[in-house]
Symmetry: C3
Subunit: 351 residues, 3 copies
């Protein structure tokens, strides 16, 4: 990383911190933290790239997805604690569709402008597709039963807890499957030889920087999110639009820059792993953990999403599954994903 | 083309014209124009085949889809001008499902009775599948928001115009992608050597005949459509059934004969391109153009389709995507498509 | 089969018979017939395996699916005769999802614990996927028209009979396709040489035992089902849960043991054929036959399933299609199917 970028990273981070802790006008806080987020996300992208170099594409992608979602999980737990369940679900929805449509779409599009066709492991694409369908089913089924039958509050809570439990078990089993029993099958078989470039940092330094960058992203994200409510009122935006789009875009900044960087280096497999892996982690791990967290706080959050949230998630899963399932991407497929994101964005904005 | 067929083409066309302009009894007009449509569609099929010989399978298929839809677009614009928006949407729906189920189904079935398995370019099938899903999403999302939220008329109009704009941009990008940047990937790699047959007409003559045939189809289609309203009342049919099935079958006559002819010559790739390409053109280009046309007429047609129209389109897309996605077809797959068309036809007929 | 197992088969069968015909307490009848079902199902699995050895994997799978569903068809006809249409539809639903999720899931999971990856004929998987989608469409479309339009009882009956007719024609065409015109394409091309094991019985004996085992399964199933109503009341279970889960699990015991046995011998193609083939047979053949049977009894059962039944079937089809479509399975994919089954089971149990 050049000295200039390092300096800008530190300066913008500090400015954002100052404006937050000294309670500047929210609009100023928002602008400063939005600028800072660009640099910390870039730092995180660089760190992930280095760790990915040592860890292999897939483990690198998984690490990035996890670190990227750490910020979201922390923010969501605060929201759960305050009982803002609608905002939590809107931001989970936004995070899933943001990863599957915007992060994946932009990565595929920009990667596709540089490389005519980009290929990645088809077995992984197939497994990811099936996992995404399970995630949709797990969110869809409780909502259908809730909307078509008279179901009591304790029954809804029981159903939510059991479904959450099944999802967490599925997620843990997925880690066992993809990291242990079938690691070799899911590994990218692209010739690694093409990547002669030396990593900028040592292994240890890369890991330390990854942790540091994640922490910085978490902080800046939180400062940015803190300004949103005031801005929502000031500019007359609906809460669901803010939750599902603004919060999600900011919360995914890390995955975003990492995935795009990797795609442009023709490591589209790692980019897909970040985008899809992150959305799977939200649906199969973060959401259930929040259900259990709310249960321990004494006021269980149910897993019943609204119709338009489910439609948004379902739509995002179907188009992204269709696009990644052949293990090959091009610029037009990226554009299609972004077109769907735009349609959803406009619809959410107008209500 | 034999002299007998040429004579029959001219005679039936003139008879139909006479019956139309001299205002014969609608039943007679209907019968005469229905006979004429068989011959003009056959002529168009022949012309397309010749042009496809010179232009290559894909560009030929694209030309055919475009020429086939010209008639539909012209008819629809007249309907829009008169504010018959429900009829427009019903006929757009019918055209999409007619192409994906009846035209594609009959082509695959008849081609399959002659050739055990017919193969075509799998990349193209995959891209077509993704485009179809985007088309379904673009029609589905506004309807869901419209049905689950109180949304004002101006908001619906804005949403319709923006979605229409996104669709047209996607369609133009698709043409750039499939005709320019990735033309080679989507081209059929079947050995062209098998096709030793000499084209009947010169290149210039083929193109001139293609234009002439399209114009004739447009005229005959309009005459036929003009008789339908009287017949609807006389035989007690519902408007939606007439719009979605009778109008659509007639309007697709051109694609129909061309696609079936190509399938039976083992050019299933071109047949798929005509059927799927035509339905994509309706959803991604004709429908949005109609929204903008109505906007310029001062009374914006929204893009909100009825539930059963969306179900019909969704169902047609899912089954046809499932059948074409492996790039290989057989007679049974054609039969399945026609079975779904029959189920939809009976359902629409009964309401 | 060892002498011990043969003795246990006969003893448990006779005990169950005695408890049934001498009207023991329902709980005792239930326990005895549940134990008996394990042994008769094991017997049927062994017989199928032997017949499959002589008949080839696919015909063996088809035979098993048919023999397995014979019991269900007989039970359902009795229910139709008594006009218990809701129970019939619930058990058809349960049988479809039980085969696609539990039988297929457990086979793939257990097969996957023994073999890292199991492969089978991809053409067959693709065709099965398309057939499943047609089945879903055939059940889904009438329900949508029924729920969104005022449709009279005679219209519903007409629609049900026509859709049932289309399904039976599709099913007969499928048999012609898969057994006659395209038999070779759908046959497993796994090296049969690996299976050096001698079949336990002669060809004739295998067939005779297959018939005998099917009859025994039918009897025991009926005895077991006879006890369920009393138990439903005693333990306060909902009828739909009993119909869709308990009846279906028992009714599928035969397919279950046969499919799991085959999967563990690395004949995953035959196991898929049993599970998917059985569910297709229920949707495309058993359900329509019941509609026609009820028509001849003078009180037509419509083909309109409830929303949650359709959701359960749709969900089962989407996830199983996604998992089998690449013609390759592993333990995690089996686990995902069972997770979806668990989610549906809990939801049905709670309402």
């Amino acid at each position: 990383m050049s000295k200039v970028r390092t300096s800008l990273l530190i300066i913008t981070f500090l400015l954002s911190a100052v404006s937050h802790y000294l309670h500047f006008d929210p609009l100023i806080q928002f602008v400063l933290s939005a600028i800072a987020v660009v640099f910390v996300a870039g730092f995180l992208g660089k760190a992930t790239e280095n760790v990915a170099h040592y860890a292999g594409e897939r483990l690198g992608g998984f690490l990035n997805a996890t670190f990227g979602n750490a910020a979201e999980l922390i923010i969501a737990i605060f929201l759960v604690k305050e009982g803002l369940y609608d905002m939590v679900k809107a931001s989970l929805t936004g995070s899933i569709i943001g990863n599957l449509l915007l992060v994946l779409g932009l990565s595929i599009f920009l990667g596709g402008t540089k490389f005519k066709v980009q290929n990645f492991n088809q077995s992984l694409a197939g497994m990811n597709g099936s996992l995404m369908i399970v995630a949709v089913i797990a969110l869809f089924v409780p909502a259908v039963f809730f909307n078509t039958h008279t179901i009591t509050v304790p029954q809804t809570e029981t159903l939510s807890l059991i479904v959450a439990g099944i999802l967490i078990v599925s997620y843990i089993a997925w880690i066992i499957f993809s990291m242990i029993t079938h690691k070799d099958i899911l590994t990218e078989n692209v010739a690694e030889g093409e990547d002669h470039e030396e990593p900028a940092w040592s292994k240890k330094k890369s890991i330390a920087y990854l942790v540091l960058a994640t922490v910085m992203v978490a902080f800046v994200s939180e400062w940015l999110v803190g300004t949103l409510e005031t801005l929502t009122v000031r500019f007359g935006l609906s809460e669901i639009f803010v939750g599902a789009f603004l919060v999600a875009i900011v919360g995914n900044a890390a995955e975003h820059s990492a995935a795009v960087l990797l795609a442009m280096k023709n490591k589209i497999g790692a980019a897909v792993e970040i985008a899809v892996g992150s959305s799977l982690q939200i649906a199969l791990f973060v959401a259930p953990v929040l259900v259990f967290t709310s249960f321990f706080f004494g006021n269980t959050m149910d897993i019943v999403f609204t119709t338009i949230e489910l439609v948004a998630i379902g739509v995002a899963v179907f188009i992204s599954k269709s696009i990644i399932q052949d293990g090959s991407t091009n610029w037009y497929e990226g554009l299609l994903l972004m077109a769907v994101y735009a349609i959803l964005g406009v619809s959410f904005f107008l209500i």
